[in-house]
């Protein structure tokens, strides 16, 4: 996949009379892992929600494979774009397998509630996240890290070309964070388009193919991390004086803050 499945054109968006995104235009490359970074309240989540059509822009539009989002039926959209929000809710008493199976919703209808294909997708997603042995456990009994893997498996089971994730590593310890970043990079290599809002800069720079840096709802930089990340950019986006040094293993840019 070398096309550009998601394109934002001149997005202006806000709530309560406050503008959050100012004339934002973006191209999210297909089959790549895009990381969206920026300080708190810079509009990262708002951008992600606009890409998932949870918010309607005041001006501008989002195109999915060249088609404006508002012209795509909800079910068709959900078969092409999946979203994992920051705080999803697990229903009372739900088991891991049941929750992962909820990801199949857009592929089912009232007359065709569940098929063998659904079961296969669920089992594959659980195997991929290594949670098969947790399948019959209840969500309430799992650790935060395990729970997050179940949510990711649910999104994978939705089997979409584009996957949007809002701070997917927040509840994970460092080992699980690295595991998840590796998985996201792998999914991108297999042809999926991954877009994640991330806080951990060094992870974003190392694992993402494409970087989007925002501040105050404006695009500050866009491109491959190795070509866009400079001390000047980090200072401009985060007000953080720093040195950029190549990561000793991969040569990806690494942020080392001043004092």
């Amino acid at each position: 996949m070398t096309d550009t499945p998601l394109i934002a054109e001149g997005l202006v968006l806000g709530y309560d009379g406050k503008t959050v995104l100012h004339d934002l235009s973006l191209r999210l490359p297909g089959g790549q892992f895009t990381a969206i970074v920026g300080p708190n309240a810079c509009g990262k989540s708002t951008l992600l929600r606009a890409l998932a059509r949870l918010l309607t822009p005041h001006r501008g539009r989002v195109l999915l494979h060249g088609q404006p989002l508002e012209r795509i039926a909800p079910r068709q959209m959900a078969r092409q774009v999946a979203l994992l929000p920051q705080n999803p809710i697990a229903p009372d008493g739900i088991t891991v397998r049941d929750l992962v199976a909820r990801g199949r919703y857009p592929h089912q209808t009232l007359l065709r509630p569940a098929s063998a294909g659904d079961a296969t997708a669920v089992e594959q997603a659980m195997a991929r996240l290594q949670i098969t042995d947790l399948a019959t456990r209840r969500m309430a009994d799992l650790s935060g890290g395990q729970r997050q893997r179940v949510w990711i498996a649910m999104v994978l089971a939705q089997d979409t070309q584009v996957i949007l994730l809002d701070e997917p590593t927040t509840w994970l310890d460092i080992a699980h964070q690295v595991e998840l970043m590796t998985l996201l990079a792998q999914l991108a290599r297999e042809g999926r388009t991954i877009v994640a809002v991330l806080h951990e800069l060094n992870h974003a720079f190392r694992y993402a193919d494409h970087l989007v840096a925002l501040r105050d709802g404006r695009l500050m930089a866009e491109g491959a991390p190795s070509q866009t990340v400079t001390p000047a950019l980090i200072e401009a986006v985060f007000d953080l004086p720093c040195v950029i040094t190549p990561d000793p293993l991969t040569g990806a840019p690494m942020v080392v803050p001043h004092a």
């Binding site: 929600r49 998932a52 059509r53 949870l54 909800p74 079910r75 959209m77 959900a78 078969r79 774009v81 999946a82 979203l83 994992l84 929000p85 705080n87 999803p88 809710i89 697990a90 229903p91 009372d92 008493g93 739900i94 088991t95 397998r97 049941d98 909820r102 990801g103 919703y105 857009p106 089912q108 009232l110 509630p113 939705q158 949007l164």
Partner: protein
């Protein structure tokens, strides 16, 4: 996945309790007599007692119980809160206000008064809780407030009413199936299947909605529409049960939770909620019909109220131990 065995046991318990309720009472009927009466082969006192007196009562207990169970599951699912049941958020109290107004002002159109009261209360709670979106906890809190105000209004209305009107109203307000007639059972038996079908059609998106607004919308659920339809169905189911049997507490609150735990289902489980609701109200009415020493019959609403208190205490103890 819910376990099929408890579901089967629930379904089998219903006819057993129903037969028991039809047979027992001041005029006991043997099983062969009972089955004969149900098959239409009886005359005289047996027919009168079983078909004219007890059958409407048992039928209403089962159908109103199922309606309350479904309504509770709908409201708890939409508010994502086990306390978000119609009796807690004021629909019962509002329906009672409507019934009182009908008794005092009008010519005693209790049914339509209760229906209207329930609908108006639901609308008031909905509008007061709306802040650019619907939040479960806010809906529950607003509902508790509205419920308290409606209860205060009810007390005042009872005080101002003439004695015989007030006594009739108080009896209705306790929630009773005493003196149920076949004419009452008719509308309920017609409406319940239609409403249950509506719940069945809505069940899949409703259960998906429990994952959160953002996630379910991204999965293609028309969130606002599903929620509005679910609330509408819940209000009509509650109003229907309340209009026929009076405001009955606890069944809508507890049936969905008990049903879900019994069958091991996750989130809103509508079939277990309906079956458990029917069983609970039928059992409670069995107790109510036997009465207490010194009181020949007690209103079923009193029995469910006592059960509700025990249920809430058990819930609190359970939560405190966690």
């Amino acid at each position: 996945m819910s376990r099929p065995l408890p579901l089967l046991a629930l379904s089998l318990a219903l006819p057993v309790v129903a037969l028991l309720a039809l047979a027992q009472g001041d005029y006991p009927v043997s099983l062969p007599e009972l089955l004969g009466a149900l098959a239409g082969r009886s005359e005289g006192p047996v027919h009168l007692v079983v078909i004219d007196w007890r059958l409407p009562r048992v039928g209403l207990a089962l159908t109103a119980g199922a309606a309350l169970g479904l309504a509770g599951a709908l409201f708890q699912s939409i508010t994502r809160n086990p306390l978000g049941s119609p009796d807690v958020i004021g629909l019962n109290a509002g329906a009672y206000t409507g019934a009182l107004l009908a008794l005092i002002l009008g010519g005693g159109q209790v049914l339509s008064g209760a229906l209207l009261g329930g609908l108006v209360t639901a609308l008031a709670v909905y509008l007061l809780a709306w802040r650019g979106g619907l939040h479960g906890t806010r809906l529950v809190l607003v509902g508790i407030g509205v419920s308290a105000m409606a209860t205060a209004a009810n007390t005042w209305l009872l005080m101002t009413a003439r004695l015989e009107v007030a006594m009739g109203a108080a009896t209705w307000g306790a929630g009773s199936l005493n003196g149920a007639t076949l004419a009452q059972l008719g509308p309920m038996a017609l409406a319940l299947p239609v409403l249950a079908l509506g719940v069945t059609l809505l069940a899949r998106p409703l259960r998906q909605l429990e994952l959160g607004d953002d996630l379910s919308r991204a999965q293609g659920v028309p969130v606002a529409l599903v929620r509005l339809c679910g609330l509408g169905l819940g209000v009509v189911l509650t109003a229907l049960a309340t209009a026929t049997a009076g405001p009955i507490a606890f069944v809508a609150l507890a049936a969905p939770q008990i049903g879900r735990r019994l069958t091991g289902a996750s989130g809103a489980a509508f079939l277990p909620a309906a079956l458990t609701g029917a069983l609970l109200l039928a059992l409670a009415d069995l107790v109510a019909a036997q009465g207490l020493p010194g009181a020949r019959q007690i209103p079923v609403g009193v029995v469910t109220l006592v059960l509700g208190g025990v249920y809430l205490l058990a819930l609190l103890r359970l939560e405190a131990r966690k």
